[in-house]
Symmetry: C2
Subunit: 220 residues, 2 copies
Amino acid sequence: MDVHPKVIPSKVSRRRTQVERRAQGEKALLDAAAELFAAQGIVQTSLAQIGQRAGYSRGLVNHHFGTKDALIDRLARQCQEQFWKAFAEIDVETGLEGILATIDTYLAQIVSPAPHGRAFLVMRAAALPEASMAPTIAEADERTREVFVSWIETGHRDGSISRRVKAEPFAAILLGLLHGLAAQLFVAPDAVDMGALRSQCHDVVRAALEEREPRREERQ
Amino acid sequence: MDVHPKVIPSKVSRRRTQVERRAQGEKALLDAAAELFAAQGIVQTSLAQIGQRAGYSRGLVNHHFGTKDALIDRLARQCQEQFWKAFAEIDVETGLEGILATIDTYLAQIVSPAPHGRAFLVMRAAALPEASMAPTIAEADERTREVFVSWIETGHRDGSISRRVKAEPFAAILLGLLHGLAAQLFVAPDAVDMGALRSQCHDVVRAALEEREPRREERQ
DNA sequence: TGATAGTTGCTTGACGATTAGCAAGTAAGT
DNA sequence: ACTTACTTGCTAATCGTCAAGCAACTATCA
């Protein structure tokens, strides 16, 4: 694993204030951690690697964040913010369009060259059996489900989403679908065609959400 | 974490053959590993803990499997077999019913008291950034998607599934949905109601798969 | 403006704890 | 007796954490 500093931050350029120094160091550490976590996992990444990659020493993580767990928690929240920021910029007419746009936004974050999306996936996966991370991740899930719930209720009001659709369980299904898809893409990026996936995804969600005509024959 | 042996295998009972001894030891180790992985994760579980939990010594894992990675790979395949065995027992009429039954079977494995389902989830999650496990997991995903593909094609033939549904991308979506749902249940078992989830899951899949009447009005 | 003392960011050395793997030994089955 | 299952002592390596020290920045005063 390449652990060397990608770009040496402009530390040599000019006289910086203390707040600038601190902010630059902290950002460099978080970026380095995101890249390394995304590439090789959390436990496989040592604090020394993070410091080196960021262009600093091994001790800086402890100086800034205290412990490794604190860094992880901080980074998880920051990565999650990226998602919400992107979600918040969605501007569409109907609830159904909101859901579809959110799906696209999520997938775009995952395949983005910026490591934050994938780093969040890795941290989310690592949280499964780890008590220390579970609360943060559970809270993130909760908030993301609420985004979906809100779109569904909007759709109920504007008529783009059938009232038969129950908001909470459907939000859980949708979030699960996205996380699960992302996980498959992660371990085997070429196993499924991204374009077909996105289009089929839209079809499925549309079919599930839109008002349906009563079917001619009812199966058993 | 409680690491003590759950049930001492009947080693004292009777004179066993060598093959019985080997099989018992191996099974005890794999069971212990599954329980510990499911409860506290892979890297957090040491070989010594596995041996102790199985009622043996620290060194037995190395003796039987050589390395920790070999044990993990072996266990991942075994857990995956549990899923496929359960899938293979599904006996229904139509392709659509096959899909729905597969969903129920999957969810049942996850909430089962036996640790293999959750252990597989944990191993799958750990494989995200880990090159050594990714191929095994990617292969497992591939085979599971094929189960879905096969049901979808059955449904195409018997008319229970619309021909508009493309098998491969839909299989990926379905697998993602299940894995993602399971992951949510893992970190926050009480966040969503299991019954409502299952029922909504069926609704979504039904809506996506069944032939639809042409809608009265087409939205933009 | 320029020197100096104080504050804060950052580095380095060291410690304690943990762990996977192996080699040599013991016990159980044939 | 002899093979095979299993145990135990050992080693080398890794890593998180912290205390002490060094370097960069800031404020004060001449």
